[in-house]
Amino acid sequence: MSRRTPVQNFFFYLIIIVVILFVLGPYAWMVSSSFKTSVEIQGMRPTWIPQTFTLDNYKNMNTTVPILKYFTNSLIISTGTMLCALVLGTLAAYGISRFKFWGRDLYILVLMATQMLPGILFIIPYFMLFTWIKNTLGIPMTNTFHGMIFTYTSFALPFSILMLRNYLDSVPKDIDEQALIDGCNRFQALYKVIIPLAKPGLAAMGIYAFIMGWNEILFATILTSTKTRTIALGLLQYISQNQARWGEMMAACVFATIPVIVAFTSVQKHIVAGLVAGATKG
């Protein structure tokens, strides 16, 4: 590659720094505000660095809004989604990676198309479906954990299946055949041989499903209320008609981001690779 002159170098790094500031600025504001007193937030001119440093927002964030409960709700729903998506997704991905059957290509096409459909199209009838299930079968669905887990699992599936299929395609088929010769049936071959080999791909897919459940807003607005409300909606409750608790909200935002950052950084290479593969192959 051609070398840069010092002047070019200067501008090169300048632009990089501007980009980083643009990306991190809002984040810095969130973190710094979470350490400010409410007097400083409401009463003084805003500054980037807190004038008096306080942990009160973190101590009090659970008093106005039961954010810890919402956090636990989200944890239950997202973990449940992750586990269900892992089971269903692995089976389906293995099916389309290892078998040729009539309708397979159509199924893959449907999976791709489903990702593009707007959630708004389903939400009204979906809400009615849940009401119908409750009225006729007697199984409560709205405002339950299993209802949310089922919903999110189905949303996570199309992308999960496609991502995992890419990964499974890279595991040689000879390995399955060897396992079959050694006396395994198909399910045993998948369970005992392929799954251990596909762990990184599975981890990426599970985390994708987890993050999806953690972030979803549209369906959670309609299908959850106090008992199962997720953290994504809970954050909105710090601001009401009567008061705006920005400091506590920023503390809660930091708190809500941590699981996602931890989950994502642990498998970022695979998720990004999956997303990028979707773009470059499409």
Partner: protein, 298 residues
């Protein structure tokens, strides 16, 4: 071999059932109820709702009705929002991807940092942007005042500026993914091509136009259609920044449909609006594919 075929279906069956329950049945049902006057009165038994034919669809485009007026306005808003967000976001993404494709100190760290907006949960990101946009206590107005670009604090979250506030926040959130995809595309271009072009006397712009862009074309094509369709889904950023009713200047189809269905209990009307939205997306996809195929053949 027959057994193997049947096994394939067995493996995909659970996922197919889940998706039929969540995607296929509700979609069909949604289309059915969009032809009916389904409200709170008859929600328990939708078949009792009077069949009204295309009435809900006609109302959607009738500017005399409140819904029609709001819907037409929401389409205008989403087009403006989508156009600016996608264009500006794409230019930033392409610029940064080109920089990131060059070797420099700390490249991996920078790559990690630019991922941050992408992985931040929507509700967190748009909540802190909502705080940033506060007219008196927000940092954005404070900085603009300090630099002297503005003399009076701007009202970002009320009135005419709302659409620009949501555009700024969405660009911040959206460009990193585009950039990563472009970067992946850039990394597939063989370096020898540039060397050969240099020897043939091509300048930097010619290299960019004939090598970089032509290699990136398929990636750009996918990114663009994905972004266009995703923008029609936009809901989170609007509801977090402005609440359930963003006001006329930042109303988008999704916020309108949600209010029409779950605040005004006009489920039939809401379904009709969402079917229209889906049809528009379908037309856009088909036209887009056709346009690109024709262009590619030329």
């Amino acid at each position: 071999m027959k057994k193997v075929r049947y096994l394939g279906y067995l493996f995909i069956l659970p996922a197919v059932i889940a998706m039929i329950l969540v995607h296929v049945i509700p979609m069909g049902w949604g289309i059915l109820i969009s032809f009916r006057d389904l409200t709170l009165r008859n929600i328990r038994n939708w078949r009792e709702a009077p069949f009204t034919g295309l009435k809900n669809y006609i109302t959607a485009f009738n500017p005399v009705t409140t819904v029609g007026q709001r819907f037409l306005r929401s389409l205008q808003n989403i087009l403006l929002y989508g156009f600016v967000t996608i264009t500006v976001g794409f230019l930033i993404a392409l610029g940064v991807a080109l920089l990131m494709n060059k070797p420099f100190v700390g490249r991996n760290i920078v790559r990690g940092i630019i991922l941050i907006p992408y992985i931040t949960p929507d509700s967190v990101a748009y909540n802190f942007w909502r705080f940033i946009f506060q007219s008196r206590i927000g940092i954005l107005n404070e900085m603009l005042l300090r630099i002297g670009i503005i003399q009076e604090p701007i009202m970002w979250l009320v009135g005419k500026n709302t659409i620009w506030a949501v555009i700024i926040a969405s660009i911040w959130k959206g460009w990193p993914l585009t950039s990563l995809m472009l970067l992946a595309g850039l990394q597939t271009i063989p370096v020898e091509l540039y060397e050969a072009a240099r020897i043939d006397g091509a300048n930097a712009w010619q290299c960019f136009k004939h090598i970089t862009l032509s290699y990136l074309k398929p990636v750009i094509k996918t990114i663009m259609i994905m972004n266009i369709l995703w923008n029609f889904h936009a809901y989170n950023q609007f509801v977090v920044l402005f609440g359930r009713n963003p006001g006329i200047h930042a109303e988008v189809p999704n916020t309108l449909i949600m209010r029409e269905a779950f605040d005004n209990y006009n489920y039939g009307q809401g379904s009709a609006l969402s079917v229209i939205l889906m049809l528009m997306m379908l037309v856009i996809t088909v036209v887009y594919q056709y346009f690109f195929r024709v262009r590619a053949e030329e």
